[in-house]
């Protein structure tokens, strides 16, 4: 069924013994025993002090007085940190210089850090921080997208993609629809909150253990704030208790607080944010308002799409340029839009600065067009799946709104056909119609939605990675690379690549903590790129060592190169079989270099942002999900009852880990679109401030019937073992849940448009149902 013209060489005749195996996470046995250390579990050096931040309690205003006398006098307090303690710049922003470590005069969001307390214990630091008397003259905050639009408050200029004259084309289309979709933000809720432990060294050197996806960025920021050369700052990250984008730029502030405290006191200092503080201080997924118009015909064929994506960026730029750009890149999802305009605004509000979150804007852009596809179906009476299929990128209509050709769009077509059949979509659709006809209160819905997600950082310079591999004389292998482990299994996958290269058992490869002193100038572990980039860099490093070992074998044993093989922990050299450890020792004796720093940069990609031209993505990852829901039209309660997923991971490096990413991503996406609601009150205070009020999915929310399959099909691009990235794309499979809710609601009033925003909380579902069907 699937085209094979791109079959990779190793796919046919490959003899792989480590890669493609469902090896468990490298820390699994430590996790289940509670002996995998996170930042707060690292054995503290003697004399370690603890830091707690003091936060602004208004969203906007001018600081008129800061009285910290009571804080300084509190039990256990060693130091109180304010801007005057900063040797370098008071700035923890990734690029735009607009995120102060401590607010100096202006407060720009509720939760902004104003000072920090260093005390003997964390409890003492927290209690002391509450004693501050900070006087702030409040000003009227801009809180909502509408506030920002009215004030023309933007963190960056607008940006757009254009093809043709979509406004005119929509007008001229036989049928048209327009709508406004509100898309909520999302709190990362990594289980391990932001944390860092800073240990001062000699001559100003500092080592920071940071729970971060971007050690290099944390290194830069620590150096900037402490006025140190980068070379004096080392960042180490063994593992995070979850990241999801929330520990990319946003880990810096916590790390800097620890580092500054260590600088000022000369002692090791630790920060572990209280969960409520973490909610208040750190950015979230951007909430959006999509204003869309779409022109189409009676067959559901789209002629033009015109969308404005208003993004609430919050109080500063942070990573919003990339997030908003990616929302635009995915605003067309997998569809051919002959005439199209995608306009993006980047709005400034007095709320926490929104940041990276799995999908990086892509989900918001994609949700808008999927909402429009359902709108077309509801307007025409066509099945939503047929509308989607009628508009897929295809030969003759294979250009995305930014001009990249969808070279393997046939993969998605095949994938959709396969899922349509395996999920029994048509029969269930009919059964649901029959159920709904006789069920006045409970209504079911079904939807099958596609995902096309571009893989590569859209900032071209970030598509690089390094890895450091050492082979020791006992045959054990030390692997270090620039990627960070946040649960996704990156360390396991990259170790599999290295073990495969040397033909040794996986447990001979020791992956060590990501460390800026071992592999420098890294990119964040983000954009789903971890395995693609670091897997390649590690393979290059291992292959370089292996090449030297082979050269030695050729010379020492007098055999041709093609008679040498590394397999099963043994090196086969002509007729000789030498255990790998023995051969490693032999190479060392022969003065063969057994260490190599590998480097990889993604080929083919280019992007001229000004000209809006190029190929920002090396390839696309595809997937689709079919979700069934049941709703209660008297309460708005909703339950997802069955989900079928088919996802394209290329040829999987590790099917178990990939499945974990798909299921976990789906459930996280489902939370974003259903129960996870960020509520700011009219003063700009986040009232859903902790898990008591902010509700991520629990076990019973996961569909009982959850069928996940991998589309095992080689990547047409020469990625590591022809695999595809898997971190983010599955998140958007959950759009099928939102569509299924629309479908269920639509049964109340066929051919009418369903007024539903995201997240589809019980309240929003009930209000939509009430609007559609006024009852006595």
């Amino acid at each position: 069924m699937l085209p094979n013209e791109h079959m990779a060489p190793e796919a046919s005749g490959e003899r792989l013994s480590i890669v493609r195996k469902p090896s468990p996470h490298d820390s699994a046995r430590l996790h289940v025993r509670g002996v995998a250390p996170y930042i707060d579990d690292i054995l503290e050096p003697a004399g370690t002090l603890h830091v707690a931040p003091g936060l602004a309690n208004v969203a906007s205003g001018t600081i008129t007085k800061i009285d910290l006398d009571a804080v300084r006098a509190a039990p256990g307090v060693v130091a109180v940190l304010t801007p005057t303690d900063i040797p370098g710049k008071n700035d923890v922003a990734p690029a735009f210089g607009d995120d102060p470590l401590f607010a100096e005069k202006e407060v720009v969001f509720a939760g902004q850090v104003i000072f920090a307390v260093v005390a003997r214990t964390r409890d003492e630091a927290r209690r002391a921080a509450k004693l501050a008397r900070v006087e702030i003259t409040p000003s009227k905050p801009l809180l909502t997208i509408e506030d920002a639009l009215a004030a023309d408050a933007k963190v960056l200029p607008d940006y757009d993609f254009n093809r043709g004259d979509p406004a005119a084309a929509v007008k001229a289309a036989p049928l048209k629809l327009e709508g406004q979709l509100r898309i909520g933000g999302q709190e990362h809720f990594y289980l391990e909150g932001q944390a860092a432990l800073a240990v001062p060294g000699e001559a100003g050197e500092i080592l920071v253990h940071s729970s971060t996806q971007d050690p290099t960025e944390v290194q830069h920021v620590v150096a900037r704030v402490l006025a140190l050369p980068d070379a004096f700052v080392t960042i180490e990250t063994r593992r995070m208790g979850g990241g999801f984008g929330g520990k990319e730029s946003q880990a810096a502030q916590t790390a800097v607080l620890a580092a500054l405290a260590a600088r000022v006191t000369g002692k090791p200092c630790k920060v572990r944010l209280d969960r409520d503080d973490d909610f208040a201080i750190t950015g979230k997924r951007h909430d959006f308002r999509a204003d869309w118009a779409i022109g189409f015909d009676a067959h559901g064929q789209v002629s033009a799409y015109d969308v404005t994506l208003h993004a609430r960026c919050g109080c500063s730029v942070d990573l919003s340029p990339g997030v908003c750009d990616r929302a635009m890149f995915h605003a067309g999802n997998c569809y051919w839009l002959p005439q199209v305009k995608i306009l993006s605004t980047r709005l400034r509000t007095n709320t926490v600065s929104n940041t990276a979150f799995r999908g990086f804007g892509g989900p918001q852009g994609m949700l808008a067009i999927e909402r429009a596809m359902d709108g077309i179906a509801h307007a025409t009476g066509l099945d939503p799946l047929d509308v989607r299929k009628a508009n897929l990128l295809r030969p003759g209509g294979d250009l995305t709104p930014y001009g990249q050709k969808a070279e393997d769009a046939d993969v998605l077509v095949a994938l959709l056909d396969k899922l349509e059949a395996s999920s029994d979509y048509r029969r269930r659709k009919a059964a649901i119609a029959a159920f709904n006809a006789t069920s006045p209160i409970l209504k079911k819905g079904l939807a099958l939605t596609p995902v096309q997600f571009g893989i590569s950082f859209t900032l071209i310079a970030m598509n690089q990675a390094g890895a450091l591999v050492h082979v020791y004389q006992d045959g054990s292998v030390h692997l270090n690379h620039g990627g960070t482990e946040m649960g996704q299994g990156l360390f396991t996958k990259v170790a599999q690549v290295v073990a495969e290269e040397f033909g040794i058992p996986l447990d001979w490869v020791r992956v060590t903590a990501t460390n800026t002193a071992k592999v420098p100038n890294t990119s964040p572990t983000a954009a789903s790129s971890g395995s693609d980039l670091n897997g390649m860099a590690a393979q290059i490093a291992a292959a370089a060592i292996k090449t030297r070992m082979i050269a030695h074998a050729v010379e020492a044993y007098g055999v041709p190169e093609n008679s040498i093989a590394f397999r099963d922990g043994v090196v086969y050299i002509g007729n000789a079989t030498v255990p790998f450890p023995d051969f490693a020792k032999e190479c060392r004796q022969a003065r063969v270099q057994l260490s190599h720093a590998g480097f990889y940069k993604t080929p083919k990609i280019e992007w001229d942002r000004e000209a809006r031209k190029g190929r920002p993505f090396l390839y696309y990852a595809y997937g689709a999900a079919c979700s069934e829901v049941i709703i209660d039209t008297l309460t708005g309660e909703m339950k997802v009852t069955r989900v079928d997923v088919l996802h394209d991971v290329g040829n999987s490096l590790n099917p178990a880990l990939d499945k974990g990413q798909i299921e976990g991503g789906f459930v996280q996406g489902m939370g974003w679109l259903t129960t996870e609601e960020l509520v700011f009150n009219d003063k700009g205070i986040l009232t859903t401030h902790a898990p008591s009020t902010y509700k991520i999915p629990v076990a019973s929310d996961v569909p009982q019937d959850f069928r996940v399959d991998l589309l095992d099909h080689p990547n047409r691009e020469a990625t590591i073992y022809r695999s595809k990235a898997v971190g983010e794309p599955p998140f958007m499979l959950a759009i099928s849940v939102f569509s299924a809710i629309l479908d269920a609601l639509h049964s109340l009033a066929p051919r009418r448009q369903v007024p539903l925003d995201a997240p589809a909380t019980p309240e929003r579902i009930l209000m939509a149902a009430d609007t559609l069907a006024k009852r006595p």
Partner: protein, 498 residues
């Protein structure tokens, strides 16, 4: 020195005792507000147990408390972050580090590895401990539904839970759970009063009600603590440092239960977990409310009396019991008084409780044959969520006519409350004639003026309350399916014919 139960004593014990890592621990010097998690992580340097939220909602800090009770060893999962250290007196504290023996993983741990049940691993110790408690405690075969119930208080942000549920199914399928040995050392209960500190600052855990009564009368400003599932937050989030704490968990007889054909009497100290099956027997809807009440950890610590005395406008128990016609018994020294439960709640966070008076028991009438009970909990998330609206109805029926009605609402006012105009209007309802319903449905808006907050808007609450009354009429009249979720034990979807 231990004294035998019932033996009079003059000197209370000035230390708590528990078992940790198989050895007895005695602690006499700790602040009353010290939490178990801080003791584990900071004093014992046992960092396997994690803090995820510090408010008992994420479950990363779950440990198991093992005690001998009624000749059995029980294993209760609790949130260590909001449990007072003093509350572990008499228990073995079992943490994640205890499970593997000589490098061999416990079957639950091994299955978690085999099924890829951990990703970032931070929630994993808490998840494993919740599963371990279920593994040890459950006397019936586990189901996917019962596992979901056991995990309602454990958040995982990475896996999507499916592999965790699979792991538990396998762990329980392959091992004879009942054959496992009890832990090496579990202290028996004793009858000593505990008093640590002085007249100005103390942690007290009286074993005899007379001691409690006297102590509380002398120190009416002391905090009475049942399970600390709310009180704990005042420490971890509010940064309170309460000086005088009286924990009720050791008061003998305080958790007494009297079940008669006509009523159920629950001592204030009855744990929510123990009350759950009894309330479920009383009425299935109440059982479902209790299944969704907090989480396994919250129900294992929290008490019936604590939930009521706390006076929360959004607690689920009070409105349910108000509708059922419950009474509350209060005690101060030797004086007891009883009042209808709804009269106990005076205003937001203000109850009819006099100085030195404490909640002693709740007495609930069982529904009669002609009484039809309907209780609904509506929240943003089904499990482990505070209700946007809790609505409870009891109709006395004469054929299709309602001849008496009682209601109880949570989330609709500053206190759990009845909707009395609605109750009166219900007397005009004929269940099989929808035209007769409107007076009652419309009366609700007169009775109740809810507020908007982060859980729901006032408008939504109004509509839902009205719709729930409507559902109750449909159900009472024998109408068709009106509910999405019956129970997690079968993951409760009403399976409509396809």
């Amino acid at each position: 020195m231990l004294s035998s139960p019932g033996q009079p004593q003059s000197h209370p014990r000035a230390a708590i005792r528990f078992t940790f890592r198989g050895a007895p621990v005695e602690i006499s010097d700790f602040a009353p507000h010290t939490t178990l998690l801080d003791w584990l992580r900071l004093d014992a340097r046992a960092t396997g147990t994690k803090e995820g939220c510090g408010e008992g909602d994420c479950g990363a800090c779950t440990v198991a408390l093992s005690r001998q009770r009624n000749g059995k060893t029980e294993y209760l999962p609790v949130n260590a972050c909001i449990l007072l250290l003093g509350q572990v007196d008499g228990a073995e504290v079992v943490t994640i580090e205890d499970l593997a023996t000589n490098g061999t993983l416990h079957p639950v741990q091994q299955a978690m590895v085999d099924h890829h049940g951990s990703q970032c691993g931070f929630c994993t110790p808490g998840i494993v401990m919740s599963l371990y408690a279920l593994y040890r405690q459950s006397e019936t075969p586990v189901t996917r539904g019962s596992i979901c119930d056991a995990l309602a208080g454990n958040l995982c942000r990475c896996t999507g839970y499916r592999p965790i549920i699979d792991a538990m199914m396998e762990a329980c399928a392959t091992v004879e759970r009942s054959a496992l040995p009890a832990p090496a050392s579990v202290l028996a209960g004793d009858a000593e009063d505990i008093f640590i500190g002085d007249e100005n600052a103390f942690f007290a855990a009286p074993a005899r009600e007379a001691t409690l009564s006297r102590l509380y009368a002398n120190h009416p400003e002391a905090h009475l603590v049942g399970g600390a599932t709310d009180f704990g937050l005042s420490i971890t989030k509010g940064l309170a440092a309460p000086k005088k704490v009286i924990w009720l968990g050791r008061v003998q007889g305080f958790d007494d239960i009297h079940a008669t054909p006509g009523e159920l009497s629950l001592g204030a100290g009855v744990k929510l977990a123990d009350a759950t099956p009894l309330l479920g027997e009383l009425h299935a809807d109440l059982g479902e409310v209790m299944r969704r009440f907090g989480s396994a950890q919250v129900r294992a610590s929290g008490t019936v009396g604590g939930n009521i005395a706390n006076g929360s406008p959004i607690g689920d128990l009070a409105p349910s019991l108000i509708a059922l016609g419950a009474t509350i018994e209060l005690q101060r020294r030797e004086v007891r008084r009883t009042l209808p439960l709804e009269d106990f709640f005076l205003a937001y966070k203000k109850q009819d409780r006099q100085v030195g008076e404490y909640v002693r028991r709740i007495i609930v009438k069982r529904p009669a044959a002609d009484e039809s009970v309907h209780i609904f909990k509506v929240s943003k998330r089904f499990d482990e969520d505070i209700s946007a609206v809790l609505a409870a109805f009891k109709f006395t029926l004469d054929g299709k006519r309602i001849v008496a009605a009682r209601t109880g609402f949570g989330g609709m006012a500053g206190i759990p409350t009845r909707a009395r105009k609605t109750e009166a209007a219900c007397l005009r309802v004929v269940l099989d004639d929808e035209r007769t319903w409107s007076a009652a449905l419309n009366a609700l808006a007169d009775d109740l003026q809810p507020i908007s907050d982060m859980r729901a808007s006032a408008a939504y609450r109004q509509i839902v309350a009205r719709n729930l009354l409507r559902k109750a009429f449909i159900e009472a009249g024998g109408g068709g399916a009106t509910r999405l979720l019956a129970s997690n034990s079968d993951l409760g979807l009403i399976d409509a014919a396809e």
